[in-house]
Symmetry: none
Subunit: 259 residues, 2 copies
């Protein structure tokens, strides 16, 4: 296994932090490459002469920093960082859809990574107060829910949930897992809802445990939250899209007129 040195009992830092530090150095120096497996808990116990929980605590540190990903039954691996995606403010421009590409695919082409979507789930539910307000519907109205997860080079980078009024989505391909070329925005425009503008609310926070699982990140990686509301030319709110993105994988670009 990788040579890591020994615990210095005169060091004021506790052993678990020293072990975490040695592993961190190995990762940052490239001795442990992205995707490489860390020494197993048993190996750390033997190497450093500590108990299992102490070895686990060291690994816990690195998980908290998002440097490693544990995989049940296989081992702990150095996290391969997803490529940074720059999201331009024109990413929903009609000209991208006209080429038959949904926004996510269009970006991937530009940035040169392999896009993917999985876990697409379609359902119907009654709108929560927040969603109803954003869609300007009476609270309790039924809405179509589109849940999905986006991948870049095979790694999850974003989960998104869209809400559309049933009145708009009912009986359209929007209810299908694959809504066809250009995505749901193309279908909305075909249905007469020519899009006029989007409003986005951007925030950041630590992920919930569910989100950590879905995005395959440790508890030390923050997420960007973007809530986008799409309005058509009649200023009708036609979609609310709630997205949670792996923060280090994104840079959002906006253009703001000075007026």
């Amino acid at each position: 296994m990788v040579q890591l040195g020994d615990i210095d009992r005169s060091d004021p830092r506790p052993p678990y932090q020293q072990i975490a530090g040695m592993l961190r150095s190995a990762i940052e120096s490239g001795t442990l490459e992205p995707g490489a497996r860390l020494p197993s808990e048993a190996a750390l116990m033997e190497n450093f002469g500590v108990a299992r929980m102490t070895a686990r605590q060291a690994i816990q540190e690195l998980r908290g920093e998002g440097l490693v990903i544990p995989e049940h039954g296989r081992g702990v691996f150095v996290r391969p960082m997803p490529p940074v995606r720059r999201l331009a403010s024109d990413r929903f421009a009609r000209r991208h859809r006209d080429a038959g590409k949904a926004a996510f695919i269009a970006e991937a082409d530009k940035a040169g990574y392999q896009p993917g979507v999985d876990r697409i789930e379609i359902s119907r539910t009654t709108a929560t107060e927040t969603i109803a307000e954003r869609l300007r519907l009476p609270a309790g109205d039924e809405v179509l829910v589109r849940d999905r997860r986006y991948l870049a080079n095979g790694r999850p980078v974003e989960v998104a949930t869209s809400y559309l009024p049933i009145a708009i989505a009912d009986g359209t391909p929007i209810e299908e897992p694959d809504p066809g070329p250009g995505g749901i925005y193309a279908r909305l425009e075909e249905a007469g809802h020519t899009l006029a503008r989007f409003s986005e609310e951007v925030g950041a926070r630590m992920p919930t445990p569910d989100e950590r699982t879905a995005l395959e990140i440790g508890p030390g990686i923050p997420v960007l939250t973007v809530v986008r509301t799409a309005y058509d030319v009649n200023d009708l709110a036609v979609e609310v899209c709630d997205t949670v993105k792996v923060a280090p994988a994104y840079l959002l670009e906006y253009d703001v007129p000075a007026q």
Copy 2:
């Protein structure tokens, strides 16, 4: 102590997650107010009939989410959150400056909190490659640097560093700690640089130790980074402003035309 319910052995989630969930609910519902002390490890052990490490693991979950702060020897406390500031996309509109208010003051008036600025430092330095590129200057050109920290209700919420080409700022009030009514954007427009647009790049990450100190936040709280570049009507880049904001204290709003 606070009533929290019991562990459900038929629940597929492990006990530590159930305990964390109950505590999280208590925090989110306000049963445990900001600043309140959580039940001690001993209390959790007794209440739920679990071992010490299990109780600690539950608290560890909440620490990773930034919901609580442990204080050695005192207890674990619900993190007091600063008020959320919603930043509208028109926050730099000329009409706000015309009232003699800088952007930060105008927002504070609207949102009803007490604004403050401290640690204003003015200096000159040679532009780093990144800054020079954004200002479209030759690398190594001298720039004016304005460093400052913003407070909301006395708590720091943002640190900002502005870079301006010396050619533009030289000999103007922009070199003074207090640039006068309307802030530096008002001075730029007086100097003939009528502002046309801003571009903003938004990201999020964990803070560096320096930033944690300046923003008075503990580990577990992410920051939002916003890099804003201001362009005048001749498309000249007149300012780059690099800001680091306490993430939970902000919601950024943007309007994006569909084109």
